[in-house]
Every structure is written in C-alpha cells, then in structure tokens.
Symmetry: C2
C-alpha cells in the first residue's frame, strides 16, 4: 500500500530512470509484486508516453487486473493503441461485470472494436447487461457465477468448483438452483468444507435466501449487502430466476459513488462521476453554474422584501446590521436539520411515516437552540454592541426584536429543513437536492419577513 | 429483505397477536428463516416489553447473531435482564470483534458483568483490543483468524480448516505465518481448492501481502479494503507480526460511520454515533448548539462592517437590497469548492502537494462562473428591477457595482473554499469542519468589504 505522497514520487523517478536506461526486466520485477490498484496509479501518474510501455511489461493476467483499475480515459488511450490480438487477450481475462463497466464508458468507435474482439458468449452477455437501466442492480451484476444442484453431493460440488471455479469472481458463496434456474438455497464454501463428502447439498444449504431483483436500484443492493454483512448477493429476474450476483466490492464502489453524488447535490452541484482533478475546467463549470444561477436569481425575492421595507429600514438603520447574522443563523440551523434528515433517509433510518416524529423532535430541539441563541445574542448586543462599541441605537426594544426573530427563525428553519427532504423523497425527488443552499434561500426570505413583522409591531416603524 | 414501510407494520401486528395468544412455537417458526438484521429490526420496533420475549424464542446461535445487530441501548436492556447463564451463552457465540464493539458501548456496571462471564481467553483478547486507540485499526480488528504454515500441504490445510474453521469469521482468505508470527504470504480458499492435495502451501501462496498496522487509522484500513477489493486484510503490530484481520463488513461499517460524521461536521454539527431517531432531544441540541453559537457570534464582524458603512448605505439604500443575494451567491460558490475538495481529500484523490493545481483549477472555474453570474445579474437588474419593477434607483453604475462584486466574490469564495480544507488537513485538523458554514461566514464579511469598496469608487459614496 502506498503512502501516497512519500513513495509515489520516488517510484515515478525510478521508473523514469529504468525506462531511460532500458532496464525493462528490472522494471517488470519491481511492478510484479505490487497490487493492481497501485500499479494502475503508477501507470496513470507516469504520463501518456510511458503508460503503454509499462502496461506491455505486465503478464497477461495482471495486465487485465490493472486495466480494470485504470480511469476510463487511460483505458481508452490504451485500447486505441492495442493490436487486435492484445485487445482480445485483455478481454479474455476480464470478469464480465468489469468488461461491461469498460464498454459503458467508452466512445462508440471503441465499443465496436471491443464487441468485435469479444467471444460470442461475452458479446451476448455484455449486450444483455447493457440493456438494464443505468442505476439498476442488473447493470452492476456479474452473470458468471457458480450454481449447484440440490441433489449433488459435497464431493460433486468440489469437483464442479475445481472445474469451473477458476473463472468465477467469487466462490465463497454458492447458490443452489432447480432446473428452471429458480433459487433454492445458498451455502458458503465453509459449509462445504465442514460437511462430509457424501452429504447432499440439499441437506447443508440454507433455504432462506435473500435475493434482489435486476430492476431494483443498485444503491438498494449495496445497502442490503452492507446491512446483512454479505460478500455476495443473488440477483433474480421478474420470474424469480437466478441471473447474476452482485459482490461486496461492487457494493462498496456503488456506495462511494452515491455518497460523492450526495455531497455534490447537497452543495448545489450537478453530480459528476470523475475524480476531482480529472474533471476539466469546463465540465466543472457546467456542473456548478446551473444551481448558482437558480439560487442567485431566486434571491430576487429577498431583494424585493428589502425594497418593500426600505422606509422602515431607513427609519431604524441599525436593524440592517443584524440581517446577515439572522440569515446566517437561520441558514445554518436549517442546514443542520436537513443534512441530518437526508443522511437518515439514505441510511433507511427514517421514512415518510416518521415525519411527525421528526417534526416533533426538531420542534423541541429548535426551541432549545432558539432560546439559547436568542438569549446569548441579547446579552452580546447589550454588552458588546451597546456598552463596548457604544452604539446608542441598540436599544432594549431593538434587542428584543432581533432576539425574538432569532428564536422564530431557528424554529422555522429547522422545521422546514427536516420536512422538505422527507416530502421530496415521498414525491420521488432526490432529498439531497433539498439541502443547505435550497433551504438557505427559503429561510433568507422568511427571516426578513419575520424580522420586519416584529420590528413594525415592537418599534412602530 | 424488508420493504420497510409495507411489511414491517404487518409483521409487528402479527407478532403482537401471536404473543397475546401465546402462539410461541408459530412465532419462532416465523422468525427463524429471517436474516439476523431483519429480526433485530423487528425486536426493536416491537417495544421494550416484547423484545426479551422474542429474543428468548431464538435458538442460541441465531440469538447471538441478532444480538450483534441490535442498537446498543437495546443490547444493554437485554443484558440487564439476562441470567448469568444466558449472558455466557451469548458471549460464547459472539465473534471477538463484535464482543469488543458491545463492551465499548456499555456502561461500566454492564462491562464488569460481561468480563466476569467471558472465558479467560476472551477476556484477555477483549482487554487487548480495548487498549488500542478509538480510531485505530487495532480497535476494529478480529484476533480470531486462521493461519497456515508454509510447509503444510494443501490437505493439511484442509484438515486445519475443518478443525478450527467453524469458529472463524472468515475462511475465504488465509494467511501464512512463520513460527514468530511474521506474515509470509496469503492465499484464498479458492487457491486451495484448485491446487493438488500434495502441493505445499509455500508453492501456491502469494508472497506479496498488503498488511496494515494496528495503529493506523481505521478509515485507512477501510479505504484500503475498498481500493484493493479485498474481503479481508491482515493487521500487523509494530514488529510486523500478524495479530488480527479486518474484514470487509467492518470496513463498510467504518465507511458508513465516517461518511455520516463528515456530513455532520460539514453541516456544523458535532458528530454523533447514534441513528437520528434514537438520539435524544438534549443530545441533538448539544451537538448542534456549539457551532450555531460560534457562527452567530462571529457574524458580529459582518454587523460591524455594515455599521461602518451606515452612511454610505443611507446615501444609496438600493445597494442594501442586493446584499443577501451577494452573500448567498458567495456562500454557495465557496461551499461548492470546499465540498468538492473535502470529498476528494477523503477519497485520497487530492493531497497537499496538489494545492497549486487545485487553486489554478478553481481560479479558472470561478472566473467562468463569476463572468456568467455577473452578466446574468446585469441583465436581470436592468430588465426586471429597473424596467419591470420600475425601480429608478437601479442605475447603470449601481448595476456595475453589483455585478463586479459578484465576479470578485465568486472568485474569492472558490479560492478560499478550495484551499482551506487542504490547509486544514496539512496542519492536522479535520477538513470537513472547513465546509459551508465556516466558509459562508468568511465570505459574508469579505463580500461586504468588496461591495463597499466598489461602491465608494464607482458611486462616490
């Protein structure tokens, strides 16, 4: 495992030196013991020129493993440079689900070349998986898995594993099916090892199998794998026939990807599936501008409210100084509630039927927070603004207006913040979009209305 | 797998009915085929009274699996009700790492009872693991694993697996050690199955093992498992001796927990390790108030700036209407950059040496965003505010001031937003704390300074 900053640069220098001095055998020996993910990192960091040289030093099987770990633009570059034989060699070594991932990322011209070189079965399987919707479990499953029959003995099963197990992604979990491919049970390789040779599979399998449908969201599949601590999970079609498996490494990738998307959506960006430094300036710009524009233009309402109360403000200009603090505190309070609820929704801890319980909780929390913040601000205004900074305009009624507003804004912000994501999910929107920037904009306008209502009643302006 | 809302209520009703009518055998048969995680959910939702009844219906081994999946307050309640024999039965069935997790969560009185009932070896192992710092890999590792010797044959290895494999958490990955417990190699159960009976372990093992140290951050261990697609990873002590393993299910838990913490920190909350609805009102209040208070009080600076320019504002009150839009847009721009960089940091895509590359990228992105937002706002101010709403105070110079400010604020916000998290990580702080609320506060004050600087130069106020 690389200690990123320290070792990487050192390796890159060594590689450059070895290539310059054509010490290829030595270079190959240096790469061989490394993990595929680390070799992929070295290839990418070594630059476009050296990447094909390094890649061609690797033995066939390792080369395929490294290939899978590369970013899609590096994969594309390598494929474009491959001879037909080289391409075929890589494809033969790939697991099916990895091949599909690669095909999905490549431009059409490269896809055609890949499909031409793939074996007929692989081509058929790739096409089948590509038919599933982008976010479905079907799109990430692997159709190469090992299935057993219930009337096999344990020693039959071992024979089957020895015969075909080498090509499978996992053999730790084995599924038992009937002749129509319906799932009958599941067992682990450990169960096989601990059983007697002549035991029947039927006797040692667990008939209670948790399966997921091809059309279910891949995020649900990932959550289920995590919840049940499975290393693999069977995928069934609409007729409940076993068609594939999802493995825990795919689940981790899905979770990482979805978490990044959640972070991006919650920070008002359109989701991108590339690492930060590999996304071009224009692409990043395109992902960030839309929401900034929408939120900027929606601030027109806030401006209109301020214009409406222009005279009241002119009469008591000191009120103006507290507006940023009020909208900031409101925005932060709302963000806290919305982020807590969005995360709880995505971990399945909360759902629509809990909305009243959530609201009741936030109401009490926000009341406590509001009272504390209002009180603290009252003291601060009197001690700092009035006494220390000597601002005579900070009178008791002004303090009262500001502090009452804080209390009400915090309560309003938290209630809106906790309920909007739940409502969004109920009507089929992504709750993550209801995070901080969206709520801040609503809270900004509302806090001004609350502020001026209190001001006109208590200060008579 | 539960479809949460639909099935859960139905099950709970059935359970209540069965308990009322004392149909325990039937109830037990209903629970038996379920996954432990689902049974745990049913137990918790069925309420404090029914939980012990349901729990006692489960056979010993399943009961332990369900116990692990319960929240710690439910575990505590059950333990308090256990007889000593019951407690011992549960402890005997637990995997060591799960037992440690439970001990860590319990109050002292319960811990003493647990340690009294545990076998001497388990007590020793629990105490050993408890010595590791909270966030270290040592604290989540399992010290029960299967190790092989290099001079064993494949059939010796199978004998060993059959003898002790039943008590191990995983046997898919096996480690080879020398007599001083130093790691020599790794192999999968698949390698064993595909090898010949008389092959030596030494011949089929992979001598390149990626291991992690007990003292390394558990998040690094989790990231490594995810990066290398491992199902387990060996943990070594300072003398490079194998002392435990971390498995992929623990890694997924760590990632989920750390992600939740990141979300919480980024929304200005103190991290909590309990699910949303299980955190009490006072606890939630305590987690949320501190940052709200700090951020509210730090808005004093914004207020001071507004007070300072009170006369300028009074002279041109229309400027005031654009302040919320400016600080909102600045805050959102900064949030986008900071969240993108924080996520890239936590995925190891970016580190300190990339800071200039990140800044250069954000500079270009923010320039593009700034120009677009400034331009759009210019058009909107002229068309909507001046022509449509007839606000004569919106003159060309005023438009120019607002739009120039937008451009500079967006650029400033994005540069601060992207560099603060990197700098925070460099000096050992958590970058997640540098997210939106913190940056919003800085940007709020700065945007006012930029605004009034342009205003005083262009409008002569």
């Amino acid at each position: 495992m690389f200690d990123y900053e320290e070792q990487l640069d050192q390796y890159l220098e060594t590689i450059e030196e070895m290539i310059r001095e054509k010490r290829y055998a030595e270079l190959r020996d240096m790469l061989l013991p490394m993990e595929p993910a680390d070799i992929a990192l070295l290839l990418e960091e070594s630059g476009e020129e050296k990447m094909p040289i390094l890649y061609r030093l690797l033995p066939k099987e390792l080369a395929a493993e490294v290939f899978v770990e590369l970013e899609s633009d590096s994969q594309e570059m390598l494929i474009r440079g491959f001879s037909n034989t080289e391409l075929k060699e890589v494809l033969d070594e790939l697991y099916l689900d990895d091949a599909v991932d690669i095909v999905e990322e490549m431009p059409a011209s490269v896809v055609i070349r890949i499909l031409e070189r793939a074996t007929p079965e692989m081509r058929k399987s790739i096409n089948e998986i590509l038919k599933y919707p982008e976010d479905s479990t079907g799109s990430i499953m692997n159709t190469e898995f090992l299935s057993l029959k219930k009337d096999m003995t344990v020693s039959d099963a071992f024979k089957r594993i020895r015969r075909v197990g080498g090509e499978m992604e996992t053999i730790s979990i084995l599924y038992v099916t009937d002749p129509t491919r319906h799932l009958l049970g599941v067992l682990s390789v450990r169960d096989l090892l601990l059983a007697e040779e002549e035991d029947l599979i039927e006797e040692i399998m667990d008939p209670n199998v948790v399966a997921i449908n091809t059309m279910e969201d891949k995020e649900d599949a990932a959550q289920a794998l995590s919840k049940y601590d499975f290393v693999a999970m069977p995928v069934v079609d609409m007729e409940e026939r076993l068609v594939g498996i999802v493995t825990v490494d795919d689940a981790m990738d899905v979770i990482e990807e979805e978490t990044t998307e959640d972070f991006e959506k919650m920070a008002a960006m359109l989701p991108s599936d590339k690492p930060y430094l590999r996304t071009g300036v224009c692409e990043t710009w395109g992902a960030r501008l839309p929401w900034l524009m929408v939120l900027m233009l929606s601030a027109t309402f806030t401006g209109m409210i301020l214009n409406h109360y222009e005279n009241a403000l002119a009469a008591c200009l000191v009120l103006n100084a507290y507006i940023p603090m009020l909208s900031g505190t409101g925005g932060n309070s709302g963000t806290q509630a919305s982020v807590a609820v969005i995360r709880a929704l995505s971990l399945d801890e909360v759902n629509f039927s809990d909305i009243l319980q959530v609201l009741w909780k936030e109401l009490r929390v926000s009341f406590l927070c509001g009272v504390c913040l209002g009180g603290a601000n009252f003291i601060k205004m009197l001690l700092v603004d009035r006494l220390l900074l000597g601002n005579a305009a900070v009178t008791l009624p002004v303090c009262a207006v500001v502090c009452l507003t804080i209390m009400f804004v915090v309560i309003f912000a938290k209630c809106v913040g906790c309920s909007l994501p739940i409502l969004a999910e109920k009507i089929g929107l992504d709750p993550a979009v209801m995070a901080s920037p969206f709520i801040t904009t609503i809270v900004d306008a509302t806090s001004l209305l609350i502020y001026f209502t209190f001001a006109s009643h208590l200060l008579g302006i």
